[in-house]
């Protein structure tokens, strides 16, 4: 990661804070459902509304998911406590958020990125999410609105906040970190990782310095709701800081808001004094002390992590994967679809084809992927690799398979994809050669450029039924015949 896109002589220093909503059935301290998109204020109770006399009780499964994250990130899992973070803002009805402060459950880990670089993890702690505030009227901006409406369904939903060390040196590496972390969150079952639904939210601390100089003043960028925003916002912010420093100004430490539409970061500074959260121990919760046996159980429950799963796919391909295949492997594992590839290969499917169809056609219809039968998928891949279905036909059959299931051969028949019999194909090829004697001569003389032309003519003449590989084989057969 040497190309940062930054002006000559400058270096970015980036630390990332990722908030991840845990995939529990209920909230962190009460039995209200943890569900996205429900009717406002239907998942509330005395605990998450902060009504007097209510008491929080910690969700065991949330703790286990936090421990899974910690284990996957090579953290030390430690005895931990909860604190109250006090602030005056209506997204928490209690006027404080329960979080972990000086004794977080996970500390000191690392995340290895697919390119081989490593980013340190400072901590990964448990806390509760806040409610959802909508600003109404005025400019729509926080300070300019007429009033606000609050939905507390999200208040109390369990979060793990994962704080990286300032080890990231480019926007691309930041995106790789967020992508790999997301794969791990999904693989461990800790979260669905859906950025568009706010299940995974990224804040970036960005500073710049001239090579070899001490750390510069950092700005925290919020509102990064997609990988694209993360990349664009960091690039913009680092350029802004370099321009400011080169013109002799200094950087003010502040929080900045990413405006996706404007494509720039804006200061969120107000006249308000700096945040002073007055943390103190939460008296209603006792210490959380995961003993070694509990930790071992959690570690044993973890399946293979994304890096190991990518290695399995590389092994299936046998030999060095192409850059396109490396991308396919990453995306298939990140979308949790690699089991489809491995099961199809166990049933004899060609690995490269299984990978390509999964990364493209299956991933494009990921909602239906779970219902895809490995046996039917393997059979389809066999039909395609055996030349009975062309690539175009195989994709259509796969779409049918994903939509309704069934037998691939039957679906092919229903769609009219009877495979072309060898002598029918030979007749079409012969017809094309007769119609284009000049091109055929060039091909027979070994000019590879006309092969595509001839294949295209055969496909056209066969009405798309011919299989590209079979056509190439037939042309090659005739050429070797012509040469003797």
């Amino acid at each position: 990661m040497t190309d940062t896109g930054l002006a000559q002589g400058w270096e970015m220093v980036i630390g990332l804070e990722v908030h991840c909503e845990l995939a529990t059935r209920t909230k962190l301290f009460c039995g209200c459902p943890n569900a996205f998109g429900d009717e406002p204020n239907t998942n509330v109770c005395p605990v998450c509304l902060g009504l007097p006399g209510s008491l929080p009780v910690l969700n065991r499964h949330a703790v286990e998911l936090a421990m899974r994250i910690g284990t996957a990130l090579h953290c030390e899992i430690r005895p931990s406590t909860f604190h109250r973070k006090n602030y005056f803002y209506p997204d928490m009805p209690k006027d404080f958020q329960i979080s972990q402060y000086d004794a977080p459950i996970n500390t000191g880990g690392r995340l290895e990125l697919p390119d081989g670089s490593t980013v340190g993890i400072e901590r990964a702690h448990l806390e509760e999410d806040t409610g959802k505030t909508t600003h109404i009227g005025g400019t729509g901006r926080i300070g300019g609105a007429d009033y606000a409406l609050v939905d507390y369904n999200r208040a109390g939903v369990p979060l793990v906040e994962i704080v990286s060390a300032p080890d990231v040196r480019s926007a691309a590496q930041a995106r790789a970190y967020a992508g790999e972390l997301r794969s791990i969150l999904i693989a461990t079952g800790a979260s669905d990782g859906r950025m568009e639904e706010g299940s995974m939210r990224v804040d970036a601390n960005v500073s710049v310095r001239r090579h070899g100089e001490p750390l510069g003043t950092r700005c925290e960028i919020k509102n990064l709701n997609s990988m694209r925003s993360l990349l664009r916002a960091i690039t913009f912010e680092a350029d802004r800081q370099v321009a400011q420093l080169e013109s002799g100004e200094r950087i003010v430490q502040e929080t900045r808001h990413w405006d996706e539409g404007e494509g720039r970061t804006l200061s969120m500074r107000s006249k308000e004094e700096a945040n002073d959260y007055r943390y103190f121990p939460e008296p209603d919760l006792v210490a959380l002390v995961p003993d070694s046996r509990w930790q071992a159980d959690v570690a044993a429950s973890l399946g293979p992590l994304p890096a190991a799963r990518r290695a399995i796919l590389v092994g299936l391909l046998g030999g060095e994967p192409s850059p396109a295949q490396i991308d396919q492997i990453r995306s298939v594992v990140a979308s949790d679809l690699d089991a489809i590839v491995t099961s199809a290969c166990e049933l004899g499917a060609p690995p490269a084809l299984a990978l390509a169809r999964t990364a493209n056609e299956v991933a494009a219809n990921a909602d239906r992927a779970a219902s895809l039968d490995a046996g039917s998928f393997a059979k389809l891949l066999a039909l395609e690799s055996g030349g009975e279905l062309s690539a175009t036909q195989a994709k259509e059959v796969l779409a049918g398979l994903l939509a309704n299931g069934g037998d691939p051969a039957e679906i092919a028949k229903t769609l009219g994809f009877e495979s072309m019999r060898a002598d029918d194909l030979a007749a079409v090829v012969a017809g094309v050669i007769d119609a284009h004697p000049g091109e055929w001569e060039k091909f027979a003389d070994g000019d590879p450029k006309v092969a595509g032309f001839l294949t295209g003519q055969v496909m056209k003449a066969s009405g798309g039924k011919a299989n590209g590989k079979a056509v190439a084989a037939e042309l090659a057969r005739l050429r070797s015949g012509a040469g003797t």
Partner: protein, 110 residues
């Protein structure tokens, strides 16, 4: 969020009217000059009393996380009944569109 040492200081922190005004502002309390003087005295006395505990010789004892001799109080991840929305919103000073209506917010989102 940053970490830090949460152990209580063993000496009572000197508290003056500026700190009391600061804490009052954070809690959105409006104090008159008389109240500020009175509460500064009262808070200083309370802190001095609490600081007496800090005088005790406790050797190498680790600070306790909680006075109760308990840890790992946990519940299963099972949904429980929620409150009726109309009942809840009827208790609020203002509601709109099934949500709590609150005055315009000044300052930053935390």
């Amino acid at each position: 969020m940053s970490g830090g040492d949460a152990r209580p200081p063993s000496k009572p922190p000197a508290i003056g009217p500026e700190q009391v005004a600061h804490v009052a502002r954070l809690a959105r309390l409006e104090l008159s000059d008389d109240e500020l003087t009175r509460f500064t005295g009262q808070l200083a006395a309370a802190l001095a009393y609490a600081a007496e505990i800090g005088e005790l010789e406790v050797g190498d004892l680790e600070p306790m996380a909680h006075p109760l001799p308990l840890q790992n109080v946990l519940r299963d991840d099972e949904p429980e009944p929620t409150l009726d929305r109309d009942t809840v919103l009827a208790e609020a000073p203002a509601a709109e569109d099934h949500r709590f209506r609150v005055p315009r917010i000044l300052g930053d989102e935390p």
